[in-house]
């Protein structure tokens, strides 16, 4: 967004901490670095990039594309990256996904105290579970866990080869479901089935993405919802589902799936991937340090992306819930601008 930081004398004394170096955090960092602030970024992963680098298949986003920007932020704009570092308010951090490589925990309070302003862009690193009988245990994992393990192995960050499975059933039809199904298929699973409780028309990933998978050979079962994971001696053998029909629109505006009694059926499977949505993961358990969250655990912000703690702004998925990279980038850029206006006292917003 700029070639060199604006040379504003004294400005670099203003310290900004950004927690989470995914698309939102990096976009905010880019804008703020141009304004000459001194910035420290924290991320729990050993590399910056967030889900772009640690979940989304490299066929969609190459790591190098992200790292070019990250290197520039570090080398040209002097941004300090504290990686493999999980920031959390409570002394015992909540266990989220993708934390195998965390080396250090830092208290949020300390970071807020030593910074002039803080931006929270910690995204959605927790997956929804369904609470089905047989769900807990090996062979059933979230799309995020599945994709994360592949990304780590690919980068040589772990020697642990990810288990792909031979007969894989993916539950859900969002972008995580699509990416998980695609990886399972490309990495040699014999059969990959996506099961979704509504129809292809309602699939959050879009008709096109689903059709692309079907063309590859992945099976698509719509109007089916899981009931139970069937295990034998602890090992996943099958998944029991039931047929659904579409009813009147629900709160989300989409037709409500209604179970059809007596329509149960089973699919043979050794791996079940749950891709039924991710949840916001703010760096605290519940309301903390004056920062409030909504019913879904998303950080509450005003129209300028400022949280209820006057020193803290938030943007990206941790505010909006799971969304597109563009949406994370957009909210973060506007949040960064609001933060800059506040810090530079250019215009009175409040």
């Amino acid at each position: 967004m700029c070639k060199e930081p604006e040379n504003v004398p004294g400005r670099s004394k203003t310290k900004i901490s950004i927690i989470g170096a995914g698309p939102a955090g990096l976009a905010a960092a880019g804008f703020l670095a141009c304004k000459g602030y001194s910035i420290t970024m924290y991320d729990k992963q050993p590399l910056a990039g967030g889900l772009m680098v640690f979940a989304i298949p490299k066929i969609r986003i190459r790591d190098e594309t992200v790292f070019v920007g990250v290197d520039e932020l570090r080398d040209k704009f002097g941004i300090e990256f504290k990686l493999a570092t999980k920031v959390f308010a409570d002394p015992t951090p909540r266990k989220d996904e993708g934390e195998e490589l965390v080396k250090e925990n830092l208290p949020l309070k300390e970071i807020i105290e030593k910074s002039d302003a803080v931006m929270i862009t910690t995204g959605t690193w927790r997956s929804r579970r369904l609470g089905l009988p047989g769900e807990d245990g090996p062979g059933v994992l979230s799309a995020l866990d599945f994709l994360y393990a592949i990304r780590l192995y690919e980068k040589g960050l772990t020697s642990h080869k990810p288990r792909i499975g031979r007969r894989v059933v993916v539950i859900g039809a969002g972008l995580s479901a699509v990416d998980a199904a695609m990886e399972a298929w490309d990495r040699g699973a014999q059969e990959v089935i996506i099961a979704y409780r509504r129809t292809i028309k309602q699939a959050p990933a879009g008709v096109y993405e689903i059709n692309q998978l079907i063309r590859k050979g992945i099976k698509w079962i719509e109007l089916a919802s899981p009931l139970e994971i069937i295990r034998e001696n602890g090992v996943v053998k099958a998944i029991k589902l039931q047929r659904m029909r579409l009813g009147e629109p629900d709160a989300s505006g989409r037709p409500r799936p209604i179970p059809i009694p007596g329509s149960e059926f089973t699919l043979e499977a050794d791996t079940v991937i749950l891709a039924v949505g991710e949840l916001a993961t703010p760096p605290f358990e519940k309301e903390n340090l004056g920062i409030t969250v909504d019913r879904k655990g998303r950080i509450q912000v005003d129209q300028y992306y400022r949280t209820t703690n006057p020193k803290v702004w938030a943007a990206g998925d941790v505010v909006t819930g799971p969304s597109f990279i563009g949406n994370a980038v957009k909210t973060a850029l506007y949040a960064a601008k609001a933060m800059h206006i506040h810090l530079s006292g250019k215009k009175l917003l409040y």
């Binding site: 967004m1 698309p23 976009a27 986003i61 879009g206 096109y208 990279i325």
Partner: protein, 171 residues
């Protein structure tokens, strides 16, 4: 016009690779931010569900430039088509002429607006923001020849991979 010959030549080209685009809206987001809430590259979800960003093609023989009665629709040194707002009368003849429906009327300034390939950024030696920010490398931008070469290189990779699949299914 004497300078038309020099100014009219496209030395730079932006190409959107739909095979690479994943419809993540990053181009639209950054364009929106730069233009205070008014993006000039917009991602549309089409009837088959494929998303595609729509923006000015900066045509080499641009009908909007041809049809503009006041010479407001013009080209810069690199060939990017832009609106000289001082000359624009907001008649929108450019919109009628454009095969892609690109020019829009700015209701406040009452002039036509459109993508100028980030003229202010390019003046500083930077690249257009959509190109710089696209995480999927779906937007290719550069000197016309370089872009042409890059596109063909990508297609070559795709063709080879399609061919290889017959022999090595795991390739």
């Amino acid at each position: 016009m004497a300078e038309e010959g020099v100014k009219g030549r496209n030395t730079f080209l932006r190409y959107i690779d739909l095979d690479k685009c994943m419809g993540c809206y990053t181009c639209q987001a950054v364009c929106d931010f730069i233009h205070d809430g008014k993006p000039y590259i917009i991602v549309y979800e089409t009837s088959i569900g494929l998303k595609t960003p729509i923006s000015c093609m900066h045509c080499s023989r641009a009908p909007c430039v041809e049809v503009c009665p006041t010479g407001a629709m013009t080209r810069d040194e690199s060939g990017a088509v832009y609106v000289d707002t001082m000359k624009c009368i907001g008649c929108m003849a450019c919109l009628y002429a454009c095969p892609f429906g690109i020019p829009e009327l700015d209701p406040e300034l009452r002039v036509a607006t459109k993508c100028d390939l980030c003229r202010p950024l390019r003046k500083q030696g930077l690249d257009p923001a959509c190109y710089a920010m696209c995480p999927a490398e779906a937007i290719i931008y550069g000197e016309t020849k370089e872009v042409a070469d890059k596109i063909k290189r990508r297609k070559a990779e795709q063709l080879v991979r399609a061919k290889m699949l017959d022999y090595f299914p795991s390739a």
